[in-house]
Symmetry: C2
Subunit: 287 residues, 2 copies
């Protein structure tokens, strides 16, 4: 993993002196989307802290667990650029898997600590999982990346609030980008190719960004407003191969002002590498 | 809600004297499945404690939130019959939603405290949600309950470890019960009607049981062993109408010894009232 990649620099953490399980980082300006820092990036940051915490061999010699198998984030307040602290706590160390908790906090302008995200996760070791899976799922059918729509072609009023898109090379299936020209299909599907603009290859932590980095599927349901995430849970099913990822977003039900967004992520070898579901709030369009 | 129902007696909690946010209950023998107390019942118990905690009007006059909109449980060790303590913690009180955490613990035979489940959840108020939803989802097509297979007809070696089934009136679609006669379809689908045997009507807490109360979908994939849940997240989308629920379980991918199980719950008015996904471990059959 290159320490020079934009993603790795953004999720870099220093262990806090004298505070076991506490890590400090810095959120940059380049990962904004809508009203705050992208939720997938915050999840990857918390996921990195938990890898540090749960990945080490325990005092009684049990090997650590480095891969997030299931991770749930409850979003409390929007993250903003600046210093960030992640406090982790080991809930249970086991032989096959370990469970931990993380709390991501920032200080407001008065120096008061405000929690951004609370996370629970179970980590394991996906090194042994070769992706030899029994599955009835099929990868999304997409035109070649060259025939897809680059996210950089999104409307300027959207890009203004979306510095995140400069970090990514997103190519959306034109069949799912009607929203960009004011003609959402209403189908509740957005799919596309995903990779980092600087070539950083995927691994389990990057998958935590990938599940929440496309334009919200709500756009294609005719809801062009900000859709803040209340909760997102991701399952990483195997370590991804290098190369393009394919991401398929779907939503089926909007009720009481809330909708679910399901993401599937497929790697370049055609394996289903991650699944996620989030509950998001549909809001009025921002002008 | 009748305090006399088996379910309400099982999730009954007393506030612990002098320990704010702590509740004590008692797990009975009648909710066993496989190696421990049913995971959905434990989720409902934690969900009840969080309703007590988050449902009260706050000191500064913000109305409480009584309905679990998103709830995630990380299962650590199997629950057993006996005394149980649920410690809750308010993570954030908001106007629209509030977030809380719960830890469900029991004492082992030496008096040492062992954590069973760690839970995060966001609660809101579903009273205003009339289920007038925009959805492309369709309820499962099932034969009438009379034409379905009662779970009481399951093999004796299964029922022996499944006192839970005596609490439920489950009627499974015969097209999805090949596993019961040694001929699993391999389709990864189990669906059926669900209600409580004593007539207790559904509400959001009962939905937390309903998402994890059918035979595991792994059975229909030809995996007859115990499939312990690592993590389960449920979204309650509206309050269910009285009467039968329909539950549809699906699984698509088994990889590295783990599979996901998705549940959809539909009420008697044809509304999608809950969605859940769990990550479970496939084990060797128990003889």
């Amino acid at each position: 993993m290159s320490a020079q990649s934009e993603f790795d620099r953004e999720i870099a953490l220093d262990a806090a002196d004298g505070e076991p399980g506490t890590y400090r980082g810095q959120l940059g300006e380049g990962w904004r989307i809508g009203g705050g820092i992208n939720g997938g990036l915050l999840l990857a940051l918390a996921g990195h802290a938990l890898r540090r915490e749960l990945g080490e061999t325990s005092a009684d010699g049990i090997p650590g667990h480095s891969d997030p198998m299931a991770i749930s984030a409850y979003y409390l307040t929007p993250g903003v650029p600046g210093a960030v602290t992640v406090r982790t706590d080991t809930v249970r160390r086991g032989r096959a898997v370990s469970t931990g908790q993380a709390s991501l906090v920032q200080e407001d302008e008065t120096g008061r600590e405000v929690e951004r995200v609370r996370v629970l996760a179970t980590y394991g070791d996906l090194a042994a999982v070769d992706g030899d899976a029994t599955t009835t799922a099929t990868p999304p059918q997409l035109p070649d990346p060259e025939a897809c729509v680059s996210a950089a072609q999104a409307p300027p009023q959207f890009l203004k609030h979306a510095t995140l898109l400069e970090r990514l090379d997103l190519r959306l299936d034109p069949a799912t980008t009607g929203w960009a020209v004011g003609k959402p299909s209403g189908n509740g599907v957005i799919r596309g190719w995903f990779r980092m603009a600087d070539g950083r290859e995927p691994d389990p932590l990057l998958l935590l960004l990938a599940v929440d980095a496309l334009p919200p599927v709500a756009f294609e349901l005719g809801l062009p407003g900000w859709t803040p995430t209340l909760e997102l849970t991701a399952h990483v099913r195997c370590r991804p191969a290098p190369g393009w990822l394919r991401v398929n977003l779907t939503s089926r039900t909007l009720s009481g002002g809330y909708l679910e967004e399901d993401a599937e992520v497929w790697d370049s070898e055609g394996r289903l590498v991650a699944l996620s579901r989030q509950l998001a709030r549909a809001t009025s369009p921002r002008r």
